[in-house]
Amino acid sequence: MAVETVDTPVRDTVPTPARGERSLTGLWFALPFLVIYAVFMIWPILAGLWSSLFNTSLAGGDVEFLGLSNYAELARDGAVWDSLWNTIYFTLLSTPPLVLVGLVMALLAHRARRTGWLLRFSFFMPFLLPVTVVALIWLWIYQADFGLLNAAVQWFGGGRVAWINDERTAMWAVVICTLWWTVGFNFLLYLAALQGIPRELHESAAVDGASPRQRLWRITLPLLRRTTGLILVLQLIASLKIFDQVYLLNEGAAAPITRPLIQYVYEQGFTSYRIGYASAISYLLFLIIMLVAFAQFKIFPAGRDD
């Protein structure tokens, strides 16, 4: 935590502090943050790990030390692996379109001259909605009996489908709802990166006779690589943490077919009172997310500009 020295004329009366002392002074400034970080981040993480070694119950009662038996139980618990697979499956289905659609939107909005503001606004708008509103909107679309989607399907002569609950469509229903809701954020990151590409590059390439397509593939996309890396890791982590849309779309009772891991943690911890066991399952997900984050640091090392 070195503090940058700034070369400003210092009045003679103030002694210039020695280097070691100065970094201590900096520590004082960082202290409030460090305290909050320790109390609200480090401590809960350790407390969760601690409680995963006990049969801690939400409803109090006697607590006994179990060692690793919560972890042994989760290894045997089919519901853990089913819901972990649901989470991973959702991540696999949702991440590519969330990145690609965000990119295409950004390219469109960046190129559009007169309608740019409208595109920017309409692409980003859904992201501003709270999850409860999003879930309600899509419930009305997907509802089996009087939903908009089935009205359209029946108008074309098809049969009714219970989109949210039919196991063939349930996961896609969540993916499409999530895409509509959160792609605006990736769009915004891409748009900012596009605006950061110097115009001169494109101009000189055009002078050299590069077609628009070549400019896209040879200039724009390579320069967006680091943004893509960032979006990819943020998106993977967000998708692995899927819970709220599924919970709300299923009115609180997701069938095992779409139940994500976090919902299983919630059920074990808050409806079965098994906080110890729920903590153990949380650590499984924590580990996976950490691995994804570390993999990203390896694939996209920081500090290298291409």
């Binding site: 119950s57 939400l58 009662g61 089996a144 009087f146 039919d166 009115e251 808050f270």
Partner: protein
């Protein structure tokens, strides 16, 4: 207003909001889980009580029905800083560890308030007593019932001379009536929810009509009768798959909307939807759940899945008999207003109310009152009762049978495996 005043104000508000410390006789904190029409009615009754007792500072909180409510209540009780009185489903009593998360009602206060066992149905009162102590006071019973559209049933010739639904008994007669109804509506004869806990309610109703048992008394082993369980599941499959008189995939909200708009002639649900249909001016009435499998009924009233809303004293550190007096006054007040409460569909638990002329004049709310005497509560266990793990898991397995995605045999196998896991889990309460 300077910064210090704001901070002081905030501190005062927080101090006032913190419930907990054993309250004296001047405060009543009450938690409940009633939404919809019940919620409105409950607030009216609380306001009436508060107005009648200006000496009391009454504060009621309504929390989200189901797991969120029970999670908060059990946490508050575990910390000994619970509200003075709260609502609990009777079938969930075991999940609230009477004696640890719940305090018993002091006998002398019960006697003084006139809340005595002879004023309740014996089977229900017995569930409220644990180790000789009273832990819950029943407010109502809410059985699974059959709603029917009077207009559609008249056109089907199902309305007798007295203007009531002709008695329908036995699986074949019922399915025949529903399939006629389906032809008339062009949609469904019967609607019910297949995604929530209704599949459990329906299955338990049918299985208990066959006199099947599920758990040993101490909930340590499964004693399910496969043949009876499958007979019940076969009938459920028959409704939506074989005879297809009912939908195989339907949310509760959809079922209520279809019945309310006359697109279905019959509905299986709890009786709390009365206000909804009265508001929508749906021509409807209600009867106790029919005898699908005759043989175990009492005076012609079939066994039916039900639960009861009860009042409990969540655990407070240092709770005294004197300190619970206001809670008892409130409970007695509510029992005396049972008829007002019954307008929402629930059958009063307070027998003086069920015999009153005002209650008997309630139509259709008093038509299925006898179902309270044949009420089949979930078997006692830490994982059973309304909105419990068992009901959710059963709803999911049996709902898949109704949807046709699982055979009755596979659905039963999944339910038994889920139950075994719950039994093997040491009780966390």
């Amino acid at each position: 207003m300077n910064r210090r005043q704001v901070l002081l104000g905030a501190a005062a508000v927080m101090g006032a909001a913190a419930c907990g410390a054993p309250s004296g006789n001047d405060r009543l904190r009450y938690w409940n889980l009633f939404g919809g029409g019940d919620g409105v009615r409950m607030v009216e009754l609380i306001d009436a009580f508060a107005a009648s007792r200006p000496d009391l500072d009454v504060k009621a909180s309504t929390l989200t029905w189901g797991p969120p409510y029970y999670t908060k209540l059990s946490m508050a009780a575990a910390g000994g800083r619970a509200p003075d009185v709260a609502i609990l489903h009777l079938a969930r009593l075991s999940s609230f560890a009477p004696g640890r998360l719940l305090d018993p009602f002091p006998q002398e206060l019960l006697t003084a308030a006139g809340i005595t066992p002879d004023r309740f149905l014996p089977a229900i009162w017995d569930r409220c007593v644990v180790d000789g102590q009273v832990y819950a006071i029943p407010l109502d019973t809410h059985p699974f019932v059959m709603y029917y559209n009077t207009e559609l049933c008249r056109r089907l010739g199902l309305i007798g001379a007295g203007g009531d639904l002709v008695p329908l008994r036995g699986a074949d007669d019922l399915v025949a009536a529903w399939s006629e109804a389906r032809k008339l509506t062009g949609g469904y004869g019967l609607v019910l929810d297949t995604f929530g806990v209704s599949p459990w309610r329906l299955w338990w109703t049918l299985y208990r009509q066959l006199d099947g048992d599920l758990l040993t008394e101490d909930a340590t082993a499964l004693v399910i009768d496969d043949a009876k369980a499958l007979q019940a599941l076969d009938f459920m499959r028959r409704l939506s798959v074989t005879d297809a008189v009912a939908p195989g995939q339907m949310l509760l909200s959809g079922a209520v909307a279809l019945f309310g708009s006359g697109k279905a002639a019959f509905l299986f649900n709890g009786e709390w939807e009365v206000t909804t249909f009265q508001t929508q001016k749906t021509p409807f009435s209600m009867v106790p759940f029919p005898e699908v499998f005759p043989g175990t009924s009492t005076d012609g009233i079939a066994r039916t899945q039900a639960d009861c809303h009860t009042f409990v004293l969540p655990h407070q550190r240092g709770r005294t008999a004197e300190g619970s007096r206001a809670a008892l006054d409130y409970v007695r007040f509510m029992l005396d207003r049972s008829v007002d409460w019954a307008e929402g569909g629930h059958v009063p638990a307070w027998l003086p109310a069920t015999r009153s002329a005002e209650y008997l004049a309630l139509d259709p709310q008093s038509r299925y009152r006898d179902a309270a005497a044949t009420a089949q509560l979930d078997p006692p266990a830490w994982f059973s009762g309304s909105a419990s793990n068992m009901e959710t898991l059963a709803g999911s397995a049996f709902g898949a049978v109704q949807a046709g995605t699982l055979t009755p045999e596979a659905g039963l196998a999944r339910f038994k495996a889920d139950m075994q896991r719950l039994i093997d889990t040491p009780a966390p309460v």
